[in-house]
């Protein structure tokens, strides 16, 4: 089977969904959704966490089946029971939860299930050439032979995108594709989307980034609580007006003013010459109430710096001191005892136990504090979890719900809640607002700022430059495992970007 490299884009159909509904047990997550998307249109789908955006896209992509309603392509009713059916119709889904095969290479993943072959013998060379062209077109930089499972999450997302492109899809459904990309990568992706649309591909895009959506899409559909609120031209909207539609009320979503660190604040964290396999001789300090931002490209060692500080990655030299007490190397438990908390970047791999209930996940790292003689004090735990869930605005969790049943953004809130259950003295956060809606994002930013105001020393890693710059008192830029530049909070985006790339 040879792969048609580019289908005739003009054949992209008009997509109409009508009366689409979906229930899980007793709860209805989509109700009577009707909308249509024109050929070649870039269509945004927006809404709060848990509004049903991913569910709708999954139905289009065949990942799940709708309980009610029909999907029509150019007025022709199509049955999409399986992803295979969607792919056959030219619909490709890039889901929010990445779906790569960790043990296969980038090359093998991009052409997953449709590898070039002669009589089913693989012709990897042909796929390699094809991938090379795709890489050139998109500007993504990936090693085709690297194992997908070994890639940082941003690069995994790029593989997903390439996978959809390689299929020559006529309709591309993308669920928060930019959530895990950094600025530069985001820009590349947006360019790719625009050029695809120009060539006739229909793109349906879910995103929580208002500016991004407004700058890209032709029309935008708003979902709220599983219902279709409106579909409108994007051109008439501002970020504020979109938020109003999504939330149904006014919200303030600007990054809160961070209070300056008082000059007498003590140094809480001291990192000295810390090195691990990915981190080279990193030293810095963070004072009480101070927020330190770490910027850099994917793979520059930001997350690994946090992991090394937390005792999770084996360090080869250097040490971490908390309040003057030097932590034993490579002991997560000691780090936690010293009041350190780490919100890791990958909630699915590192943060949450997907097959366990929400409450249990949130309470996991602080079990000892709410137990007696080894028994969990369930009532106490429930009360604490319920309080923290409330303050991070966690929604959609019913009694006994598994973490896996929550929407992506709500999972992220659960992850955050887990590490705030006991207020930490030192908070390390890695991509803290990945996938959360704009209101919740503001809330998380507010919480980080509040914690700092109450004296917590915070280190923030984020691929969103606005977030790093907006939240932090100081910014370190990392490149190839080293700290290469330092800025204060008045730094400009461009300055920071430049130092991340330079040399």
């Amino acid at each position: 089977m040879d792969t048609p490299e580019r289908v005739n884009r003009s054949t992209a159909p008009e997509i109409t969904v009508s009366g689409i509904g979906k229930r899980y047990g007793a709860s209805t997550v989509l109700r009577d959704i009707t909308l249509s998307v024109a050929p070649g249109e870039i269509h945004g789908i927006m809404g709060e966490n848990g509004a049903g955006k991913s569910t709708l896209l999954k139905i289009l992509g065949g990942a799940i089946a709708a309980d009610f309603g029909v999907v029509k392509l150019d007025d022709r009713e199509v049955k999409i029971a399986e992803p295979r059916d969607a792919i056959a119709q030219g619909i490709s889904l890039i889901s929010q939860e990445l779906a790569l095969v960790p043990g296969l290479s980038v090359l093998e993943n991009v052409f997953l299930g449709r590898w070039a072959n002669t009589g089913s013998l693989l012709r990897s060379r042909r796929d390699a050439d094809h991938l090379e062209r795709l890489l050139a077109e998109t500007g993504f930089e990936l090693d085709p032979r690297a194992m997908a499972g070994d890639l940082p999450i941003g690069q995994q997302q790029q593989v997903e995108i390439l996978k959809a492109l390689a299929r020559g899809a006529k309709v591309l459904c993308m669920d928060e594709p930019t959530a895990v990309l950094n600025e530069a990568e985001k820009a590349k992706l947006l360019k790719v989307i625009r050029s695809l649309a120009r060539l006739g591909t229909t793109v349906i895009l879910v995103s929580h980034y208002l500016e991004e959506v407004l700058g890209l899409v032709d029309r935008v559909t708003i979902l709220r609580d599983g219902q279709h609120i409106t579909t409108e031209d994007a051109s008439g909207h501002t970020p504020e007006s979109l938020v109003g539609l999504m939330v149904g009320r006014e919200v303030d979503f600007l990054i809160p003013e961070v209070r300056p660190v008082p000059p007498e604040a003590k140094t809480v964290v001291q990192v000295a010459g810390l090195s691990s396999s990915k981190v080279k001789d990193v030293s810095f300090t963070v004072r009480q109430g101070e927020i330190l931002g770490i910027a850099g490209l994917v793979g520059s060692g930001r997350s690994e710096t946090l992991l090394a500080m937390f005792g999770a990655d084996r360090t080869t030299s250097g040490y971490v001191q908390i309040n003057g007490r030097r932590l034993r190397a490579n002991s997560i438990r000691e780090a936690i005892k010293a009041g350190m908390a780490l919100v890791p970047e990958s909630r699915k791999e590192q943060g949450l136990v997907m097959c366990r209930p929400v409450d249990e996940n949130i309470a996991l790292s602080t079990l000892s504090g709410r137990s007696l003689g080894g028994f969990v004090r369930v009532a106490r735990e429930k009360a604490a979890v319920s309080e923290i869930s409330h303050s991070v605005d966690l929604r959609g969790a019913r009694r006994g719900s598994l973490i896996a049943d929550l929407s992506g953004g709500n999972q992220q809130k659960a992850l955050f809640a887990k590490w705030l259950l006991n207020p930490p003295a030192v908070l390390l956060v890695d991509e803290p607002t990945r996938g959360v809606d704009i209101a919740a994002k503001a809330r998380i930013h507010g919480m980080i700022a509040d914690l700092a105001a109450k004296g917590t020393a915070v280190v923030v890693v984020s691929s969103e430059l606005e977030e790093v710059i907006g939240l932090s008192h100081r910014i370190h830029v990392m490149r190839q495992g080293r700290i290469v530049a330092e800025f204060d909070r008045n730094a400009s985006r461009d300055e920071v970007m430049a130092s991340a790339f330079l040399k």
Binding site: I332, P344, E349, L367, F375, R395
Partner: protein, 327 residues
């Protein structure tokens, strides 16, 4: 937040539904039991239930331990080899220091060997399936080395006391059955309500997330193997008590029956999921099927075919009609 409140306030119906689904496999067991009650005059008798529990004691103890192991993401294929060594050690200690010392000694040996198994698996980072398989070969060899391949028995005058686990006790059940039920309940509570139990689920569900939550995943696994060893030793003492002796080939292969029982009950082989009552139900399904066949006077030529089909039906029904699937 409104949603959260709403969620908490729609509980009754929801909760009931969920439970019915969750307990699918119980209906499988009840169906088989109903069938046997209607077709034999002998199934639903006190005597037969005493037998059933007695027959379930060994696999029940091993399955309770296997549940902890499997939920935490490991297998212990060395459990019955450990059983043999512990029972042999128990008998040998009995010969020198008396019956009580023998029982206590067996438990200590079982727990110690279990700990060793755990340390080996954790420190070598070998997959537990293959690691404990190798350990089981070693322990069986050890049993032969200790005994020279012979049978060991307590002194004749100790025999009556040594056979204490076969005596009737609570509700007429044998002491061995009571021990099995008690351990199932205790370990059930451990899994369900203690910090240790929570950690077991977390380690089995996502080892990396557990590690980053400050859980010493290695310690959890060692502890789980130690408990498995303890249960093996208990099972070993019951077997030795019944037989009045112990030998290196005791209970070969029963570790797989125990794992099968755990999985039939509905505990996921992938870890992170499951419950202790499921092991008990799984053990009971296997025991009742075997028991029922003999009560029914059917031609035993077809026994195996029908047994296989029944197991398949019980598990498939659980999957297809009752339990919620998670992809």
């Amino acid at each position: 937040m409104t949603t959260v409140t709403a969620a908490v306030s729609e509980p009754a119906e929801k909760k009931f539904k969920l439970n019915v689904r969750d307990f699918g496999i119980v209906f499988g067991l009840i169906a088989i039991m109903l069938l046997l009650t209607l077709n034999t005059g002998t199934f639903l008798t006190g005597r037969n239930f005493i037998n059933l529990f007695d027959q379930a004691a060994i696999v029940g103890l091993l399955a309770a331990a296997a549940t902890l192991c499997i939920v935490s993401g490991v297998f212990d294929l060395s459990s019955t080899a450990n059983l043999a060594v512990s029972a042999i050690a128990g008998v040998m200690i009995t010969q020198h220091l008396g019956v009580i010392a023998g029982f206590v000694g067996a438990l200590l040996v079982g727990a110690a060997l279990g700990t060793v198994t755990g340390l080996i698996v954790v420190s070598t980072k070998v997959n537990s399936f293959i690691g404990t398989l190798a350990v089981s070969i070693i322990y069986r060899g050890l049993a032969i080395v200790i005994t020279g391949g012979a049978i060991v028995a307590p002194l004749p005058e100790q025999l009556a006391a040594f056979q204490t686990w076969t005596w009737p006790s609570l509700f007429g059940l044998t002491a061995g059955s009571v021990l099995m039920v008690a351990m199932t309940i205790v370990l059930g509570i451990v899994l369900w309500r203690t910090t240790f139990g929570r950690r077991i689920y977390a380690v089995g569900g996502n080892k990396e997330a557990a590690r980053l939550s400050g859980i010493r995943t290695g310690s959890i696994h060692v502890a789980v193997f130690a408990i498995s060893g303890l249960c093996s030793a208990m099972a070993g003492m019951i077997l030795a008590s019944r037989a009045g002796s112990a030998q290196p080939a005791m209970a070969i292969g029963i570790e797989l029956t125990a794992i099968a029982a755990v999985v039939i009950g509905g505990t996921s082989i992938l870890g992170g999921h499951g419950a202790m009552w499921r092991a008990f139900v799984g053990v009971m399904i296997l025991t009742v099927i075997g028991n029922g066949f003999n009560l029914l006077h059917w031609d035993t030529t077809y026994q195996q075919v029908v047994t296989g089909v029944l197991i398949l039906l019980a598990v498939a029904a659980d999957g297809l009609f009752f339990r919620k699937r998670t992809g």
